[in-house]
């Protein structure tokens, strides 16, 4: 408003303060929306691209919206590329690791949180140390070990190293520690054994932590790449990321339609899960502070 320049005195002040807030807010929203577009553009391009015929994806100049949408890429992926099987493999591995972590890590977490025992400090120190050890440090001996056990190229070989994680024990222990000792003591006085306390008192109260652990484990395993890449040697044991990576560097590497359909197949299930459970995903990561 040009009028502001001519106004003086208190009126001028009022004008400015009452105008400043909406402007600032507008700028804020504008910046957030711009950032949002930048964040979501790759997804949009992936989803829209997966229903374009290849010719349209590589066309120049390219357009965002598909002119003749088709599901041919997905059909080809399922019929010729076995993505259905890889999908199944990914699911089996992720679900097995979730179950293992839920059971074994909550058991160990209970012992760490509520029982004083010899060797606890050392053991927990090892758990904490392992949180910062990079995966690349362990995978060579791990590969040798698993191969020597005869588990190379098997489901067990894919699953066993991730059936428990130091991270899982860490968050279960943190959560169980916040359960009042009085509850545990009362149960002990009532004559309940430790396994009864664990099953009847601790587990029902740790449901939120179990949900968080389940989600984060599923996420980590669904997207796990390095280990399945070295351990799965034949197609029947590929997980989705391995299949997609080998597919994109192989002879099909220039078939963008198929590649994008493959990417959509990997990303969609986890995005749907995320949208359904986003509060737990975000809270889980915020509260534990560790991916």
């Amino acid at each position: 408003m040009t009028a502001t320049t001519t106004t003086t005195g208190p009126a001028f002040r009022d004008r400015r303060t009452s105008r400043r807030v909406p402007t600032a807010r507008l700028v804020l929203y504008g910046a957030l929306v711009l950032g949002l577009l930048a964040t979501l553009a790759p997804f949009a391009w992936m989803f829209l691209g997966s229903v374009k015929p290849t010719g349209e994806i590589v066309a120049h100049p390219s357009s965002w919206l598909p002119r003749s949408p088709t599901f041919a890429n997905f059909e080809q992926l399922l019929s010729k590329q076995n993505f259905g099987l890889y999908f199944l493999n990914s699911t089996v591995v992720a679900v097995a690791c979730v179950l293992g972590n839920l059971l074994f890590c909550s058991m160990a977490g209970y012992a760490f949180a509520k029982i004083e025992f010899a060797g606890k400090r050392l053991l927990f120190g090892l758990v904490l140390t392992m949180l910062i050890i990079p995966g690349v440090t362990t995978f060579v001996p791990l590969f040798v070990l698993v191969s020597n056990m005869g588990l190379g190229n098997s489901y067990l070989g894919l699953i066993l190293p991730f059936l428990v994680t130091p991270f899982g024990v860490f968050i279960m222990r943190q959560f169980i520690r916040d359960i009042p000792d009085a509850l545990v003591e009362a149960a002990r006085l009532d004559g309940a054994g430790e396994s009864r306390i664990f099953l009847r008192v601790i587990l029902p109260l740790t449901r939120p932590a179990l949900a968080t652990l389940a989600i984060l484990t599923f996420l980590a395993q669904w997207n796990n790449f390095l280990w399945p890449l070295v351990i799965a040697q034949t197609e029947d044991h590929y997980t989705l990321p391995v299949a997609l990576a080998l597919f994109s560097t192989g002879a099909n590497g220039t078939n963008y339609g198929l590649l994008l359909a493959g990417a959509v197949t990997v990303v969609t299930p986890i995005i749907l899960l995320f949208l359904a459970l986003q509060r737990h995903f975000i809270q889980g990561i915020a509260n534990t502070g560790i991916k």
Partner: protein, 317 residues
């Protein structure tokens, strides 16, 4: 909240030692220990086999000349002391990999932190409408698979790709990102920031929400500008959160591996080879000793940097 959970174990070790619990069932300590170890046993068995043992095995491999051929015949392996480590620093590819990793960390971490803090502050400062929606949408890249992301970004980075067409709108003719040794690393950093910044964002958001807004407002009422109030009130109170974010990002960015693996294979001209990627390459060549030594250089770097950050933040607090 965040910091409390993450730092507790360290603090606890120093201070609180629980008085021995009296068990109703007598025999006390030994019995408790047996019960506890029984509860831990599945975890301990798997953790020792697939977690602890490989760490020590890899450390011992790093001082031998073991190769993939020696795996079946362990007696042919020789102790070579620190030879693998000295060999690493004589290898220009490793030196390049170490410098690349530093480059990635030095640029990537501040960029991720500033960006995620800015978004967290924006979402926290009075935006009520659509706050949840923004948070979810900004977090979405975190849950995606790197391989799927790579397929998309490789295309976006093409010389005539989406990123360069956006740049050309403002009159910039973009480079051939992934094939130009000067631009390959910035390209991977940009993608990594996109993929990772949702995690520090939600941690910062949790930290910001634990600061009473009155403190910031009081400073503004006292005549401080919003920026000044942010710098002098909000930032210092965020220090514990910042420490957690810095350590988490250091640990994950120092391990920088998947991006070069799926996007560039470490090229062009080794410009995106990281220490992790170098170790993986050496494993591929069968040089298990050298690969292990390289990974222990990384372990040392992570440990030192985490320690350093603890010191710095504690000294300032």
């Amino acid at each position: 909240m965040t910091t409390a959970t993450s730092l507790k174990p360290v603090r606890e070790r120093a201070s609180t030692r629980k008085p021995a619990q009296r068990s109703k069932h007598g025999s006390g300590r030994l019995r408790r220990t047996l019960v506890a170890w029984a509860f831990c046993s599945p975890f301990v068995l798997l953790f020792a086999t697939f977690g602890i043992w490989p760490v020590f095995s890899s450390l011992s491999m790093s001082v031998t000349d073991i190769t993939s051929r020696d795996v079946q015949t362990p007696f042919s392996v020789n102790f070579v002391g620190l030879e693998n480590y000295t060999a690493l620093f004589d290898d220009p590819t490793f030196v390049r990999a170490a410098l690349n990793t530093l480059y990635f960390v030095a640029v990537g971490i501040p960029l991720t932190m500033v960006l995620s803090l800015a978004v967290a502050v924006a979402l926290n400062s009075g935006i009520q409408r659509a706050k949840g929606f923004f948070r979810v949408a900004y977090f979405a890249p975190v849950v995606t698979s790197i391989v799927a992301v790579a397929v998309v970004w490789r295309y976006l980075y093409k010389p005539d790709g989406m990123i360069n067409s956006v740049l050309s709108l403002v009159g910039i003719s973009g480079p051939d990102w992934l094939n130009d040794p000067n631009w390959s690393m910035p390209a991977l950093i940009l993608m990594a920031v996109w993929r990772h910044f949702g995690i520090p964002m939600v941690i910062f958001l949790a930290g910001l929400q634990s600061i009473p807004p009155e403190l910031h407002e009081a400073a503004v009422v006292d005549g401080a500008s919003r920026w000044r109030a942010f710098r002098s009130v909000t930032l210092p109170l965020l220090r514990p959160t910042t420490l957690v974010v810095a350590i988490l990002l250091s640990i994950s960015y120092l391990q920088f591996f998947e991006e070069p693996f799926v996007m560039t294979s470490g090229g062009p001209l080794d410009s995106t080879t990281s220490i992790s990627y170098y170790a993986y390459q050496q494993f591929g060549f069968g040089n298990y000793g050298v690969a292990s030594a390289a990974s222990y250089v990384l372990v040392t770097a992570i440990a030192l940097l985490s320690l350093l950050q603890f010191r710095i933040f504690r000294a300032r607090a």
